[in-house]
């Protein structure tokens, strides 16, 4: 089962001191996106119907679920960059 990430953590250390420790609850963004998707659903459906003869309608309908699958798969993404003076760490949990 796909579990979208709930938090994003960004940690920047410079010369041994923490410069930025950013903790962001990304689930708020997912909820906002879901609300927006529901709000715009009628408009998306109408656009898809209009563009159906040009074979774009199906793509428009499939982009939404594919996008949600993409954001749901970010959990586990880790990026760590280290140099002698600084360290940048970004991860999604």
């Amino acid at each position: 089962m796909m579990r979208p990430p709930l938090v994003m953590k960004l940690h920047i250390i410079e010369n041994g001191k923490t410069k930025i420790r950013f903790w962001f609850p990304v689930f708020i963004v997912w909820l906002l996106l879901l609300v927006l998707a529901i709000l715009f659903m009628p408009l998306i459906l109408v656009t898809a119907l209009i563009l159906w003869p040009q074979s774009l309608g199906k793509r428009i309908l499939l982009i939404g679920p594919a996008f949600f699958e993409l954001i749901g798969s970010i959990r586990g993404l880790n990026i760590l960059i280290q140099s002698p003076e600084s360290q940048v760490c970004l991860y999604f949990r």
Partner: protein, 141 residues
């Protein structure tokens, strides 16, 4: 030590079998033990979960920077699925730009079925590049 091996060695110690016979029996056991249990049962190999890219400074490096990236394969799968929804003319434009950068790639040929096949083979793959300035390792886990 397996039970069979112990039994053979016991028989040898008791003088019930000769050294040559024990050797033959032990060799026969090693052959059958050489095959992993998963292969014996005909199980499929597990898919790797993450693609790891590790860049480390080499002995001639000036920057001394380390990069460690872990990308979930699920994310790659989802990205390919999303890319397959890009309209044909936009895909052609992307391919042209990629070609200008020296990357030749036909996006329409990348399908999620191909990716599954690729993932099975990627499990055992490790790419090591050592240029003196940097060491790059790409592997799956």
């Amino acid at each position: 030590m397996s039970e069979d091996r112990r039994r053979i060695l016991d028989m040898l110690a008791q003088g019930k079998i000769t050294v040559e016979e024990a050797d033959k029996l032990l060799a026969a056991i090693s052959d059958s033990e050489g095959v992993p249990e998963s292969q014996k049962a005909g199980e499929k190999k597990a898919f790797p979960k993450y693609l790891r890219v590790v860049v480390e400074p080499g002995p001639e490096s000036v920057k001394k920077e380390k990069v460690n990236i872990r990308v979930p394969f699920q994310l790659l799968r989802a990205g390919i699925k999303l890319a397959s929804l890009i309209p044909g003319d936009a895909q052609a434009r992307i391919e042209t730009h990629l070609k200008e950068k020296g990357i030749e790639m036909d996006l329409s040929n990348i399908k999620s079925d191909n990716l599954e096949e690729l993932l099975i083979h990627l499990n055992d793959l490790t790419v090591d590049v050592d240029s003196g300035e940097e060491k790059v390792r790409i592997f799956c886990e």
